[in-house]
């Protein structure tokens, strides 16, 4: 009964926002489920099994390609065709369905794991739908493997501790998103929307730091909410972030940032391409390809490709010499260098075009603006940047200050959660009201 209610609410949740696309996902899920059953029936390492997985992967990626990358692909073909005098192709226009990238990756995971025989097929279509549509992780992950959650889907836990700890975790995530990420976006967004001639170095640096905090608190906040909500419902999802801004190298960063995606790429892309078993140049090329695709996964635009490639190149340098060299440096220097490097690459992630990103980097380097800008950092934004820094540095502070070292007991933890929740709910309400003194057009 509880599982039926869960599936029903998950479907309603998705259908409310995606009343059309839900049918596409349902159909595609049915196909995957049937393919999965076939795969598990056929003997291991047979061509029919591999062919079925291939069909499933192609159909899922095809869905993603058409909906998410169709317009990007056609616009690039048209640019190329334009230079050759070829008439332009009509660009498809789809609204990006919620959580499409996460759904597709999870469905691929299911099929590949069946082929590798590390998972058993879902006992029923009902169970499989519950996996695909489990609403806490539907919007922004983490990417969950079926076999990690199969037992929980059959028998969700219903303990008081889950309800309590899940609620606390959910509120932590909400507070990260609403009290830190969203207010910081109010500075980061205009800073990145400034035209290059009006961008001064101070604004560029403050805007970049604000965005660095914003993206972390936004994404990790969503993950916390998903993990907390799932825990309330009796599921334990894998962690998706582990203090990424304290990483000592970019390789370390990717072990801490969006863990479910980076491990997905490693397990389902990098290792099948040969992993570390192939020649060094080949493994570097694979690394670059993986990060290029990781960039594309984040969005259909060249700036994401460049962002992904920049990470790929730095990771190559990591492997080639840096991981060895950095052992001579103190830990805090490595952490600081990695943090600055990650921040710099966020410029490509956030800027709309390559030329904008270059202009932004020039401003970071001290280029003087030719026009004034009207962006001023107020006290609250500055205070939030500092609070953000404290939250990021919390694990280090815990090591130094014994007061912070011990985990909070339930009553203080719940009291803090209640306070944060009240602030967050108030802030959500206030964020929907943007009055003007009067119209002055």
């Amino acid at each position: 009964m509880r599982r039926s209610v869960l599936l029903f609410s998950s479907l309603i949740f998705y259908a409310w926002a995606e009343p059309v696309f839900i049918w596409v996902v349902l159909f595609s899920a049915l196909m995957d489920y049937q393919l999965g059953r076939q795969i598990s029936r056929w003997p291991a390492r047979t061509w029919s099994r591999r062919l079925a997985v291939f069909a499933g992967v192609v159909s899922n990626l095809g869905l993603l390609m058409i909906i998410k990358y169709g317009a990007f692909l056609i616009s690039n073909i048209n640019v190329l065709g334009g230079t050759l005098g070829v008439p332009p192709l009509p660009a498809p226009s789809f609204l990006l369905p919620l959580g499409i990238s996460f759904i597709v990756f999870e469905k691929i995971t299911y099929l590949v794991d069946l082929e590798r025989a590390v998972a058993r097929p879902a006992p029923s279509f009902f169970d499989y739908l519950n996996y695909v549509f489990l609403f806490p992780k539907l919007l922004a992950g983490p990417i969950v493997k079926y076999h990690e959650i199969a037992d929980q889907l059959r028998q969700p836990s219903h303990r008081y501790e889950d309800l309590r700890d899940g609620s606390i975790r959910f509120v932590q995530g909400l507070a990260k998103k609403v009290l830190l990420a969203d207010p910081l976006a109010l500075y980061a967004d205009p800073a990145f929307n400034l035209s290059v001639p009006s961008l001064d170095p101070a604004t560029a640096w403050l805007g970049l730091v604000a965005f660095t905090w914003q993206i972390y608190f936004d994404f990790s906040g969503y993950s916390d909410m998903a993990i907390g909500m799932a825990r309330i419902l009796g599921f334990r999802l894998r962690e998706n972030f582990n203090h990424p801004y304290l990483a000592t190298s970019l390789s370390d960063f990717w072990r801490r940032w969006h863990i479910s995606l980076s491990s997905w790429i490693k397990e389902y892309l990098y290792i099948p391409l040969g992993g570390n078993r192939v020649s060094t140049p080949r493994s570097y090329a694979n690394l670059c390809l993986c990060f290029l695709l990781s960039g594309l996964w984040h969005g259909a635009s060249w700036n994401f490709v460049i962002w992904g490639c920049s990470h790929g190149v730095i990771l190559m340098a990591d492997r080639a010499f840096w991981l060895e060299w950095q052992k001579r440096l103190p830990r805090w220097v490595n952490t600081g260098l990695t943090f600055v490097l990650v921040m710099m690459t966020w410029v490509f992630f956030r800027c709309d075009t390559f030329s904008h990103a270059l202009g932004f980097l020039r401003a970071l380097g001290g280029a003087k603006p030719s026009e004034p800008n009207f962006l001023v950092m107020e006290r609250d934004t500055l205070a939030l940047l500092l609070i953000g820094a404290l939250v990021v540095l919390l694990p280090l502070l815990r090591k130094r200050l014994p007061l912070l070292a011990a985990p909070l007991r339930p009553i203080p933890a719940l009291s803090l959660a209640l306070l944060l929740l009240l602030c967050s709910v108030g802030r959500v309400a206030a964020a929907t009201f943007h009055p003007f003194l009067y119209f002055r057009f």
Binding site: A17, P19, V20, L95, Y160, E161, L163, R164, D165, S167, I168, V171, P183, A185, L186, Y187, A188, D189, P190, N193, S195, V196, P197, E371, P372, F374, V376, M377, E378, R379, D380, T381, A383, P407, L408, R409, P410, I411, A413, L414, A417, L418, L421, L422, V425, G426, R427, A429, A430, A431, T432, F433, H434, P435, F436, L437, Y438, F439, R440, F441
Partner: protein, 560 residues
């Protein structure tokens, strides 16, 4: 972290219940009030009745198949819930109060126009931008002042007393109240205000400098010239300036009498314009600070002895209208708020708003038939002076029609040759003159953003008997979600065409018959968004930026 505790304590359960209830509270309370509406009467603090400020509300979307399928209906329901859930005002006020107490800042800094300065003094961002950052060259201001002088001279020729009134900006009168973050951006080049004053003197325009008057009185005034929580001057500052305006009318031969010895009532309970910004912050607790109310002695003149006064100006003029009306020496005071945004008239002190916006103004029967005219420009608005330019353009056109022997060269039109490409982009040749524009931002390398709902371009064309073809190029300022409303183009106030422009660079051609361009002057107005249903700005985007970014404009003669 909390494993191994099988028996939670009472307090733990209570706290957890409160957490869960808080998450569900807005929904539960809204449902309760929906089913038991009488509850609200018992709990007025739960009514969302007294939030202050103008907001753009979208009309609810009908639950049609197409809307449901496109997700528009779900969006609309969510938006309506966000705007109306029970207890929303209470939450907003508590959240804003908490944010203010914690950070001494307004809750939604970048999206809000209210900035908290030193010692809690509130200032609107617009005034800070102008005071600290925005600079204009004197050459850019010169055509505006020449147009003012031309209108002044024509008014005087008709026996109308004409005064330009410069109202002060709180930022320039109280720079000590500006926070460090804004002060460090201060541009040392001269502000438009000082250049404007210099030009007015050179062109012999009768001017009352409200900035100089209140700045001189700042230290001696019994109450602050600008209230702590307001952006407009106090009634005391307004009264000092009103006296100077009356003196100027007297100098121009009008039988007006001075406002001497008014009753000045001091209080600690600010309301209306004395507390407009603090009200806009929607805090939970009321602010108390000193204000003064000025009550002039009524002169009790007979109806026939009273004069008429027309004011073209902004919100500072409501206090001026109220004050002058209380002297009972004017029959009627008409305030043309931002010229055509709304018309307000004062009779027996209280204003009555006639319409908003005013579709058209009959200059001969309205403003120019008055005994006295005040043209008000706030010092912060000198660089743009948009409604003032609009008024001047119409007044000069009117005078030119009435007195054809005296052609008035209005510098607010851009002279353009056929085939000439006018650029809106910075660093490009043939840039359009900013004085030929109304409702546009500064030029950027990528073009000029429109500001407001009716950006207008004024063009002076060569003579031609052929149809004209205008070509516009631009993009949407904000990527619209689906299909944004078309841009409606008017030529000399007549509907001409509709431009369906999506986000990508678009081009639009329109044909104009020569009969629609009298005197070869063409005003090209674009309704880029309607107030009722604008393209929604998202976080970090200002409502004023809802519109388009123009890059190019060309006019040519039609070939056939």
């Amino acid at each position: 972290m909390m494993k191994g505790q099988n028996r939670p304590s009472f307090w733990e359960i209570l706290l957890l219940t409160l957490v869960l209830l808080t998450v569900a509270a807005p929904g539960l309370m809204t449902l309760s009030v929906y089913f038991f509406p009488t509850w609200l009467r018992a709990a007025p603090w739960l009514q969302n009745a007294s939030l202050v400020g103008v907001v753009v509300k979208k009309d609810p979307i009908a639950a049609t198949w197409s809307n449901v399928v496109r997700g528009k209906y779900a969006e609309s329901v969510a938006a309506r819930f966000n705007e109306d859930f029970t207890g929303r005002e209470l939450l907003i006020r508590l959240a804003n109060e908490g944010w203010f107490r914690l950070f001494r800042a307004n809750g939604l800094t970048s999206q809000s126009n209210v900035v908290v300065g030193r010692r809690g003094s509130l200032i609107e961002k617009l005034y800070l931008n102008e005071y600290a950052i925005q600079r204009t060259s004197i050459d850019d201001l010169s055509p505006l002042v020449k147009s003012i002088a031309a209108v002044q001279n024509e008014c005087r020729r008709r026996g109308v007393a004409f005064v330009v009134l410069i109202t002060p900006s709180k930022a320039s009168i109280f720079p000590e109240a500006i926070s460090h973050s804004w002060r460090r951006k201060y541009d040392l080049r001269p502000r438009s205000y000082s250049q404007f004053i210099q030009l007015l003197e050179e062109n012999e325009v009768a001017c009352v400098d409200g900035h100089a008057i209140v700045a001189a009185a700042k230290k001696k005034a019994p109450v602050p010239i600008f209230p702590l929580g307001g952006i407009h001057w106090s009634e005391y500052g307004c009264w000092l300036t009103a006296r100077a305006v009356i003196s100027e009318f007297q100098k121009q031969g009008k039988p007006v009498r001075q406002v001497d010895d008014p009753a000045i009532v001091l209080s600690n309970d600010p309301k209306d314009t004395d507390a407009d910004l603090v009200a806009l912050m929607n805090l939970a607790l009321k602010w108390h600070y000193p204000i003064a109310q000025v009550r002039p002695q009524p002169l009790n003149l007979k109806e026939n002895d009273r004069l008429s006064l027309a004011i073209v100006g902004g919100s500072f003029m409501w206090q001026m209208g109220r004050l002058l009306s209380a002297t009972e020496q004017f029959n009627e005071i008409d305030v043309y708020y931002y010229y055509k945004l709304a018309k307000t008239f004062f009779r027996h002190v209280l204003p009555v708003e006639i319409s908003a916006p005013v579709a058209s103004v009959d200059l001969s029967r309205e403003i120019l038939s008055s005994d006295c005219v005040i043209l008000e420009i706030n010092e912060s608005e000198i660089p743009t002076a948009r409604p003032v330019k609009d008024f001047l353009a119409e007044a000069l056109a009117f005078f030119e029609q009435k007195v054809p022997s005296q052609p008035l060269a209005y510098a607010g039109y851009q002279t353009v040759a056929f085939g000439q490409e006018l650029s809106f982009c910075l660093d490009q040749p043939n840039q359009i003159n900013p004085h030929a524009l109304f409702g546009f931002h500064y030029p950027e390398t990528s073009g000029r953003l429109t500001e407001g709902v009716s950006p207008t371009i004024y063009l002076q064309l060569p003579s031609s008997s052929k149809d004209l073809v205008l070509t516009l190029e631009g993009t949407r300022a904000i990527s619209a979600e689906s299909s944004p409303p078309p841009i409606i183009i008017y030529i000399n106030d007549e509907l001409s065409s509709k431009w369906r422009l999506l986000s990508a660079l678009g081009k639009h051609e329109l044909r104009v018959p020569p009969a629609r361009v009298p005197n070869q002057r063409l005003a090209l107005r674009m309704e880029v968004a309607s107030l009722r249903d604008p393209v929604s700005p998202s976080a970090g985007e200002h409502l004023q930026e809802v519109g388009l970014r123009l890059t190019k404009l060309t006019v040519r003669e039609a070939e056939d």
